[in-house]
């Protein structure tokens, strides 16, 4: 979440005081990303330092009496940011994916049960968001959009778990089939029947990308 660009977007409507910016930011994001006053002023100071906003009033003060307005450079920066897709090219380090992959290697681990524990937790989170949406004001567009985004994100993780569950079952069934072309002798642990490739998934390498870290089990 870029507070910096959200501030520029709010200032693109016209000059505003810091406190009002904070209130409007929270309203725009459906109060899902609250800000403290310190964050607002730190961001504004940096924007001013970079020539993206200008301020009126006492230059030594960051108090509520100080109004900010966007500069031409700030408007250009905002436009560029809005049109630039976030970098989604590299798979994120996903803790949940790691857990499932690691579970496949642990002798005796019930992977289906582990998957179900995560599925249940995710669905419980989705129930909470859905209830917030249901109780909310249907006319509150920002809130609805932000909650939908969270629901779709969680849903995609549940879908991955479902697909993983099915894929693991299929692999296990194939390995146990009398028609399977077994490379390993019978009697091995079922968890060893399908070795995990060197990488977590069949991509060249999992690249670290701290900016994109996706937390699936904890916010």
């Amino acid at each position: 979440m870029s507070v910096r660009h959200a501030m520029l977007a709010l200032l693109s409507e016209g000059p505003k005081y810091g406190l009002r910016l904070r209130e409007e930011f929270e309203a725009q994001t459906g109060e899902i990303w609250p800000l403290n006053v310190g964050q607002v002023y730190t961001t504004l100071q940096r924007l001013e330092r970079d020539g993206l906003v200008e301020s009126d009033g006492d230059s030594d003060s960051d108090g509520p009496q100080k109004a900010y307005r966007i500069t031409e450079a700030g408007a250009k920066e905002l436009d560029t940011w809005l049109r630039t897709p976030p970098d989604l090219s590299a798979p994120p380090r996903d803790e949940l994916v790691m857990k499932v992959l690691v579970a496949l290697k642990v002798p005796g681990a019930d992977v289906a049960e582990i998957i179900q524990a995560h599925r249940r937790y995710l669905v419980e989170l989705m129930q909470q968001w859905t209830h917030i949406k249901e109780d909310g004001d249907p006319a509150d567009l920002n809130s609805g959009l932000a909650i939908d985004a969270e629901l779709f994100r969680l849903d995609s993780v549940v879908r991955w778990l479902d697909a993983a569950d099915a894929r693991i079952r299929r692999a296990k069934a194939d390995a146990e089939s009398p028609f399977a072309n077994r490379a390993t002798p019978a009697g091995d642990s079922p968890n060893d029947e399908r070795p995990v490739p060197n990488g977590p998934w069949p991509l060249p390498r999992l690249r670290g990308n701290s900016r994109q870290e996706v937390r699936t089990t904890q916010r």
């Binding site: 979440m1 870029s2 507070v3 940096r46 249940r120 419980e124 909470q128 859905t130 917030i132 849903d155």
Partner: protein, 248 residues
Amino acid sequence: MTNMIELRQVSKSYGQGDAEVHALHKASLAAIEGEMVAVMGPSGSGKSTLLTIAGTLEEPTTGEVLIAGQSVKDMSKAKKAQLRRRTIGYVFQDFNLLPGLTAAENVSLPLELDGTSARRARVVALKALDGLGLGNRAGHYPDQLSGGERQRVAIARAMVGERKIVLADEPSGALDSANSEAIMRLLHSACKDTGMTTMVVTHDAQLASWADRVIFIRDGRITDQTTPLAGPESLLVKAASTNPELDR
């Protein structure tokens, strides 16, 4: 609170010998008055079988089904049919509306089959359609309605006559996300407002998340269920403690 739907150790098998398939294995669950329960599982997990057995459309191989506290095990066919007409409504993914009847006629049909006069049934049907925002669509045939409208007609048909239970099989499977949400919002508010009990079976987590409780089914066995976390507002509190990243 009364258990409106209760399954006790219900098993269902099809075929015999080597060809025997166990669709359900000792499934037990209960849904109380006013509750919306979702049964979630992949294709072939037995969730639709569970729904048809809960709706008395099929009999279990072993185990017992109770509707509003009453066992259906020894009920006569006629009594079961009456129970289905008066107490249980069904909603299906593909709507199952009769194409030769208007929306109002589709909704009034179950009432008329139960002995209500045509005139009275029409009044009730129109009221039900109106309540779901379809007052101006009463005279339309199913092929003149959008998918979302057809499903709302199907819900009106399921709920009409103040039925206490609605059973829905992937009720928004054929709809886009906005219409899905409208359908689930409608069903959930009916549970809260009228005390109706709804059981929805689905593979879709977004749809299931509308339920008060989600029961998970796998290979014909009920494996797990959600437990309510701290109040929904806890997510907002959590979000408040997760400060947005400050750009430098």
